[in-house]
């Protein structure tokens, strides 16, 4: 147990160092000139040479990579993530405000895709070869091959433009002061991006659960349960669910990275002010501190998801839990 904790802390630190280093290297080799990108084309052309040099100094263009990284890393150890030059605010603050939006979006998508995918998977697996199975399978294959941003655009066209059920974008209504925004407003704006993200996330978990369901239905213990008088659905309910839920939950925790990746695209399409959108802004604007901050945050988030997936097996599965105790 102790070794497990130490090993995971070491892994986490190494991951953080690697992610931040890669972010810095990528930004430094990127062809984007932060000065040009941030002041705008017209202002840049009219700017005096001295002013440009001053801005370049401000953006740290001429400081060598290793020195910038060392400075940033030194500050990080003191808990200072630096200042976002693009948003002109501490990186920690930018991430905090954005993370609330993103987490609401991702949590909704994560839960909805998980529950929906699990249900569809069982439905398809239990009816293998029947029309309902083909429909679910076809739906999943279709979704798995549909790009997230395209689906987002289609949803925008159908639900926002044609039907007018949902707003076109943003997380709050336009022209309303922050104090007047109600929870209902926020949910109304959240719905469409969350739906897009959920629908895309369903395919993976549904296909996986379908395979597992077929395995479980062919297992000896379900056969035996049926010889004792349970119907197929009864056996599935009493013996299948707990055997299916564990791998599905693990998979769902491990798929947090995919939802995170999807959220970047979805936020961009829906102009939803979350972390993903901030990451795009930071990347295109050469805002290395913010980009590194977001990269660290998302890496930590995904690491957490995978860790939970790992630990979950040990906690929920009696074979692992009691087996480990017996060996300890």
């Amino acid at each position: 147990m102790f070794r497990f904790v130490i090993r995971n802390i070491a892994k986490f630190i190494l991951l953080m160092v690697a992610v931040s280093l890669v972010t810095f290297v990528l930004v430094s080799v990127s062809p984007i000139d932060p000065v040009q990108a941030n002041v705008g084309q017209a202002a840049y052309v009219n700017m005096s040479e001295a002013k440009r040099a001053q801005l370049a100094e401000y953006w740290g263009v001429n400081t060598p990579l290793w020195e910038r990284y060392a400075n940033w890393f030194g500050d990080l150890l003191h808990g200072d993530l630096g200042t976002s030059l693009r948003f002109n605010a501490p990186v920690a603050d930018v991430i905090a405000t954005r993370a609330v939006n993103s987490l609401a979006l991702m949590a909704t998508a994560w839960v909805v895709s998980g529950v929906l995918g699990f249900g569809l998977g069982i439905l398809a697996g239990a009816n293998r070869g029947r029309p309902i199975d083909r429909i679910v399978k076809g739906y999943c294959f279709l979704l798995a091959s549909v790009p997230t941003f395209w689906l987002g655009l289609v949803f925008l066209i159908v639900f926002s433009v044609w039907l007018g059920w949902f707003p076109f974008g943003f997380s709050v209504p336009i022209g309303v002061s922050a104090a007047d925004v109600t929870l209902a407003d926020a949910l109304h704006h959240l719905a469409l991006p969350a739906l897009t993200l959920s629908v895309v996330g369903v395919a993976n978990i549904a296909l996986h659960t379908r395979e597992k369901t077929i395995d479980v239905l062919e297992s000896d213990y379900v056969r035996f349960a049926r010889t004792r008088g349970l119907s197929t659905w009864g056996a599935l309910r009493h013996h299948g669910l707990r055997n299916l839920a564990l791998p599905a939950l693990t998979l769902q925790f491990a798929s947090i990275s995919e939802i995170f990746g999807g959220s970047v695209l979805v936020e961009q399409v829906f102009s939803y002010p979350g972390l993903g959108q901030a990451a795009v802004t930071a990347g295109l604007g050469g805002d290395v501190a913010l980009l590194a901050g977001i990269a660290l945050f998302s890496a930590a988030f995904v690491f957490g998801g995978n860790l939970i997936a790992n630990v979950l097996y040990g906690v929920v599965d009696p074979r692992m839990r009691k087996g480990a105790k017996a060996h300890a």
Binding site: G129, D220, Y221, R223, F224, A225, R226, T227, R228, G229, L230, G234, H238, H239, R242, N243, L246, D317, P318, R319, K322, G323
Partner: protein
């Protein structure tokens, strides 16, 4: 078997995916009655040989019929030809069990003895009404004197006929064994009642109350066997189908492990013991059904195995000669009946 009877069997062809309707079963019942003159309901306790089998002292025909009677059972599968190239493979029909007849009387253990992998488990599946989607099952099965259709067999599961499976793999790995023994298939019986009965059975079979709190992977081999038996007895069956219930035990231990089945039979139940071990069968069973190439070639009392002269089928006699005390005389016994061969 006469040609008319065979014709009747063919007329009754039922596919697993097309469970025959009750009305049709009743019709068939009537048909069987006219053909056999209501034979199934007749008193025939004292006949020396009937239904192609001889009786043991323990066998008796309660209410004048067999507890379980299987006649002319065939199980086949539609499958793709394995030898043909992938894209040219055609579907063909493989009959794994053909015209099998076997009876289980009250008070007896019938051992179905055959080579491993020769399809004995399919017999258990058919009796329990568990059919694969690509299976075609034909034949007649009576339970307690009543002709059953697929729905009838399904209704008898855990409700007259119980299975004792081979290993602990037949238990849900994520559920405590106590809860599993109590089962879920009888929602009309209050759970407290089921739990009381489970505790009673555990006590009778020397399983401590703590065992109920264990998960299947924590059971020893002996505990697992008793837990599986308790699962079956929980439902108060008339017939137990035991599919290789003593894997990996040597003969003496296996015989002792089967004492519980003996007790069940002595109390008036019937046991169909499926095994590959002829020595075990001769020690614990009352009658032996010799299973070869998908059918029962001879169904006879254990006493008839005393000498080859009382055995009717050449394969049974070969089996007799292959027993260790008769000097393993025929080395070709296992041949032609699938992989594995006989234990003897």
């Amino acid at each position: 078997m006469s040609e008319t009877q065979k014709g009747a069997a063919r007329a009754e062809e039922t596919r697993a995916e097309q469970v025959p309707a009750c009305g049709r079963a009743a019709e068939l019942d009537a048909l069987a009655d006219t053909l056999f003159g209501g034979h199934e309901a007749l008193e025939h306790a004292d006949e020396q040989e009937h239904h192609h089998h001889t009786h043991a002292p323990a066998s008796h025909h309660e209410h004048g019929h067999h507890l379980l009677q299987v006649e002319d059972l065939s199980v086949g599968f539609r499958m793709y030809d394995e030898d043909a190239p992938f894209f040219r493979a055609r579907q063909r029909f493989v009959e794994v069990i053909s015209s099998l007849t076997i009876s289980v009387h009250a008070g007896e253990i019938v051992a179905v003895v055959g080579a491993s992998g020769s399809g004995k488990t399919l017999l258990a599946d058919a009796v329990l009404g568990l059919f694969e989607p690509n299976a075609t099952v034909r034949g007649r099965i009576w339970f307690d004197g009543e002709l059953q259709d697929a729905a009838g067999l399904a209704a008898l599961r855990g409700n007259g006929v119980s299975l004792v499976p081979q290993s602990v793999n037949n238990l849900d790995p994520l559920m405590k064994v106590g809860r599993q023994v109590e089962g879920f298939a009888h929602p009309d019986v209050p759970h407290a009642e089921r739990r009381r009965r489970r505790a009673e059975l555990f006590e009778r079979y020397g399983l401590s109350e703590e065992t109920a709190q264990l998960y299947p992977f924590e059971l020893s081999g002996g505990m697992a066997r008793r837990v599986l038996l308790c699962c079956a007895l929980m439902d108060d069956p008339h017939v137990i189908v035991a599919d290789e219930p003593t894997p990996g035990l040597d003969l003496d231990l296996a015989v002792r492990a089967l004492d519980d089945f003996r007790a069940f039979a002595d109390a008036g139940g019937g046991v169909m013991l499926i095994t590959h071990d002829i020595e075990l069968a001769l020690r614990v069973a009352d009658r032996v059904a010799v299973f070869k190439d998908g059918t029962v070639v001879e169904e006879t009392a254990v006493a008839n195995f005393a000498s080859p002269d009382t055995l009717a089928h050449p394969f049974s006699r070969a089996l007799w000669h292959a027993l260790p005390e008769h000097g393993f005389r025929d080395r070709n016994v296992g041949e032609g009946s699938g992989k594995g061969g006989f234990h003897a």
